[in-house]
Symmetry: none
Subunit: 140 residues, 4 copies
DNA sequence: GTGGTCTAGACCACA
DNA sequence: GTGGTCTAGACCACT
């Protein structure tokens, strides 16, 4: 009930040595936070300016990340009020869903195969990363 | 069986959205293939032109990848006969390999999550589709 | 056969009084040019810098338009070589296609209805705009 | 039939991607409805709160639209009883109306074109879907 | 020469 | 206060 009860449940960090552009790092962190439930629909992101200060980068860089997420329908921005996780519920029927699932899986596997990654490694990695991301039950 | 004795046992794939330059993707895939035995010493790589056509990219880009691999002693170019895996022992960077695996897995999972696909479904699909594509046992 | 045989078949113009941001005007003009066939798959757009000079605007503004189109999969950019109309062929089956068609039509009609636009007006406008855009035969 | 005598004969829709601010979209739709007779003098508009709920936007945004319409003498607010269309003759800007119609039509056509949908299909679908929604004859 | 990223700073519209 | 647009200019990686 305190004023900050619904405070932003995400902390951003930037790695200047990773070679990944700052704006992409921000997008990745938002995507991960959405995937594992730390950010849910309608949640508000930090303001462009405040996040820029926090990360010690230029506001334009944050704005670029937010803008790209808006184009991708990941977030919705409302002039003058802020940036929010999109409410859009992708409404797909079972057939379409199956088609998409097969397509992205196939694409993933062939890409992995190009790097000589074995099936076991894939499954291991998905379990590792996935248990953090796609809540499957109660992992605690 | 004879004509294909020196057939290239490697399939290249490029991801235009990964942010990794094409020439680096090619190098990485060659290194990976050497490391896990799909390419062994003396194996012949596709010609610059044929690979460029296969991947629908500029031959200069393939040439750059080959050049850089030659500089690093990964391959040897023999004028008129082609490009071959050199004798040098490749010590593929385990960290780099891990980084790639994590990245493609992460991208896969977040995309799936955006469609509300659960971890179990992912694992099931990979088992189904994967056994046809990815080598399961030891590659040596 | 001249060197410029495949020169860019599109001329951009900006209206500073329309209230539409420059970068959006650029996107709109590319979309229209694609829709009516003046730009087809693989066609090359002007370079960021040259278009910026032509339009007397900052290169960043052009880059922003190109970047947004890249995110939307309208164009593909290749580092160091240029920006091209995307080759992507949306592969959708008849059912999916029908679903999309119905959805965007329904959305269009309800939006128009909110502005009190009659069915006749809609049909007229589509014929007017459409005959320029969706080639239906030979309109000349 | 009596209880709904003063029922609001107008449906509002907002397009978050049009770039037009919500408050302006509301004003435009009211003006359009007045111009074509769906709203006549003395007709009552929805309350600020109910419209805000319907459109899932901030009540302040609706209030701003109503305020601006009051300043322009389009509506009159009667404390405690509601907001009503004023006596003033609305001379809706024919150019503005045309601009809107063109824009939504253009957006519709280019989106359809990106799916390879032809003009004939569009016209057919609009005839099918549209006759249920859009008034066909004269609205006076 | 191509586009990509980032900074700095200005001005505007919306809430 | 919020985000949106645009300019100016720097530096980098890729072809």
């Amino acid at each position: 009930m305190t004023k900050d009860a619904d405070q932003i449940p995400i902390t951003f960090t930037l790695d200047s040595k990773s070679g990944i552009p700052y704006y992409k790092q921000i997008i990745l962190q938002v995507e991960m936070a959405i995937a594992d439930g730390r950010l849910s629909k309608g949640a508000r992101l930090p303001t462009v300016r405040s996040l820029a200060v926090d990360l010690s980068i230029n506001p334009n860089t944050v704005a670029r990340a937010y803008n790209e997420m808006e184009i991708r329908d990941i977030v919705v921005t409302q002039q003058g009020s802020g940036t929010f996780i999109s409410e859009k519920q992708i409404t797909i029927d079972a057939i379409e869903r199956e088609r998409i699932l097969t397509e992205i899986t196939r694409s993933f596997i062939t890409k992995a195969a190009s790097y000589g990654i074995t099936l076991e490694e894939l499954l291991d990695h998905i379990r590792d990363l996935g248990s953090d991301i796609v809540p499957k039950g109660d992992p605690s």
